[in-house]
């Protein structure tokens, strides 16, 4: 696929998700049992839930829950991995050793375990997806830093900087343009896209599991609906034969939009 096609596709997916998030209502509309389980087109474009409320609102609220924290986590990983790559070029062995040691320890812990412990310790008033997404970003950072540092190492590390400085380029230009923009970009953006995807899946997983146990989710308030609610509702169409297949398809479709956006972004910035 060409870069421009990938770019247009990723942008369209982002616009769809941002549009959903920006228009998300604070609360679902009032119930209308006459329209329970109405199919797509009868109540909004995607049909209705068991109380006759439009599933479009679920999609909008779910996008609002997930989009901001996922982008924040992606940016955090992008920043940390860029810093890792630049540090390798700066050639400070002590700082590198400290980062490597921290990475070894963080990398040795199963991420979900750390995340659940964090969810337990975060005060209930502060709960939301953002702190969990940032914890996930910190846990994902060592791998991203390692990869960015390996790219910087292949460039020649500190010798690469010296060589370009000898050609008369300013330090800022060498670091920001030659290293970050030209060389680290594919790795950094790919890692950030992966984390964006992982945080989305994480939200789905945590909300689904909480929904299954009839408990409040760690990721959003009880007044909001997540895409996991769509999957949960849709699952009953397979397991119990309820007429909720449209919810399942909508949930899977939204997951596909985020996955496509992440993959197209990676294609857009791939190395030449």
């Amino acid at each position: 696929m060409s870069r421009s096609a990938a770019g247009i596709g990723a942008l369209l997916a982002l616009i769809v998700l941002a549009g959903l998030a920006a228009t998300a209502p604070d609360h679902l509309t009032d119930a209308n049992r006459d329209l329970a389980f109405a199919g797509p087109g009868l109540v909004g474009p995607f049909g209705a839930d068991e109380l006759g409320r439009s599933l479009l609102q679920y999609a909008q609220q779910g996008a609002g829950v997930v989009l901001g924290p996922a982008i924040a986590a992606a940016l955090a990983v992008a920043l940390l991995s860029t810093a890792g790559g630049l540090l390798r070029c700066a050639g400070d062995r002590r700082v590198e050793a400290v980062i490597q040691g921290l990475g070894e320890v963080l990398g040795a812990l199963p991420r979900m375990v750390v995340l659940l412990v964090s969810a337990l310790l975060i005060p209930s008033t502060e709960r939301g997806l953002l702190p969990l997404a940032l914890v996930w970003a910190v846990l994902a950072a060592p791998g991203a830093i390692d990869e960015a540092a390996a790219v910087a190492e292949r460039l020649g590390g500190a010798r690469f900087v010296e060589a370009l400085r000898a050609h008369g380029f300013s330090r800022a230009r060498v670091y920001l343009y030659h290293i970050v923009l030209l060389n680290l970009r594919p790795v950094v953006v790919r890692q950030a896209s992966e984390v964006l995807l992982q945080v989305t899946f994480l939200e789905l997983g945590l909300s689904y599991l909480a929904r299954q146990d009839n408990q409040s989710s760690f990721t959003h308030s009880d007044s909001l609906k997540s895409w996991a609610d769509l999957l949960y509702m849709g699952y009953t169409s397979i397991g119990l034969g309820m007429p909720t297949g449209h919810a399942l398809w909508l949930g899977l479709g939204l997951v596909a939009v985020v996955t496509t956006m992440a993959k197209l972004t990676t294609t857009l910035v791939r190395a030449r």
């Binding site: 979900m112 659940l116 899946f201 909480a210 996991a228």
Partner: protein, 307 residues
């Protein structure tokens, strides 16, 4: 040149440290957060008798006291009693019941991954299949688990909780865990990249010219990296086990950890997290042992006839 034993030595040290590090970090976090530690663990809005719990859990005499007492009890396999998940039951009993299920699940999930690793290393799995595996790997574990759970319900109906269904649950869980979230795809592409980079080394070409086998020559050199990759894969599986176990209804440590977190059963969460850390520590030991064995093998003086 760095001494060969430093890296495995650091891993051994980290492996010993890890089971203590997890409770230490949790302890530090509890006391670092604003508010009374007992109220963080057991908020008065959701549970009564906070002061009694604080005394029972040694939360009333500072972080060092709490940590020391917890480690001392843990050494005697005493993790206290559950106060929410299975009220009154010793946490060690819950752990010993759930640990074998998680180990079975992860062990079975490693099956397809091992096949993928061997297939990629020997070239039996062609590189053109990578696209397919990575597309399958894009599907999150939750979605695969839901499909698996639905398949169990459809296949077994009202008998969905009998022994036969449990066996199927475990098998489906293992396949889901092994394939979803890119586990299989990452294992195959990682090993393929590693082996193909090594295959291009000059010593391999020379070995081929001498009539020696490529894989036998490469193996000692790629083994430490392979062990590292496999450790990362197992950690990935352990992490994913939480979702798979809960959705498929497998009562493993992941399920226990989730229930503990959801019901704010601090004792259960602390013990389950420590169990995961101990498994991770054991993996570090295995990796270090592989590195030591490889280092001893490549440093062994070769036998030269007539010398």
């Amino acid at each position: 040149m760095t001494a060969w034993w430093i890296r495995p030595g650091v891993r051994f040290f980290a492996a010993l440290l890890l089971p203590f590090l997890v409770p230490a970090i949790i302890t530090a976090l509890i006391w670092a957060l604003p508010g009374d530690p007992a109220e963080i663990i057991c908020p008065p809005s959701t549970c009564g008798g906070t002061s009694e719990l604080a005394a029972r859990w040694n939360l009333d005499a500072g972080p060092m006291h709490f940590f020391r007492e917890w480690v001392a009890s843990a050494f005697q396999a005493d993790f206290g009693r559950s106060w929410r998940v299975e009220q009154g039951l010793p946490v060690i009993d819950l752990l010993t019941e759930s640990l074998p299920i998680t180990l079975k699940l992860v062990g079975l999930a490693l099956g397809p991954i091992f096949i993928g690793v061997i297939g990629a290393a020997t070239g039996l799995i062609p590189s053109r299949a990578d696209g397919f595996f990575s597309a399958v790997g894009l599907v999150p574990a939750l979605v695969f688990s839901l499909l698996g759970s639905a398949a169990i319900v459809v296949r077994f109906g009202s008998n969905a909780f009998d022994m036969e269904a449990d066996r199927w649950r475990l098998l489906i869980g293992a396949v889901v865990l092994g394939m979803a979230d890119g586990a299989f795809a990452a294992a195959v592409s990682g090993v393929r990249g590693l082996v193909s980079a090594e295959r291009n080394q000059r010593y391999v070409s020379i070995a081929v010219l001498r009539g020696e086998r490529t894989l036998a020559n490469m193996l000692p050199n790629v083994m430490p990296a392979l062990a590292g990759q496999l450790r990362a894969r197992v950690l990935h599986l352990l992490s994913g086990a939480v979702i798979v176990e809960v959705v498929l209804g497998l009562p493993g440590v992941g399920d226990l950890l989730w229930s503990g977190t959801l019901l704010q059963d601090f004792g259960v969460v602390l013990a389950a997290a420590t169990a995961f850390a101990a498994i991770s520590g054991a993996l570090l030991v295995v990796q270090a042992l592989v590195e030591v064995l490889v280092a001893l093998h490549v440093r062994r003086t070769p036998f030269v006839e007539g010398a």
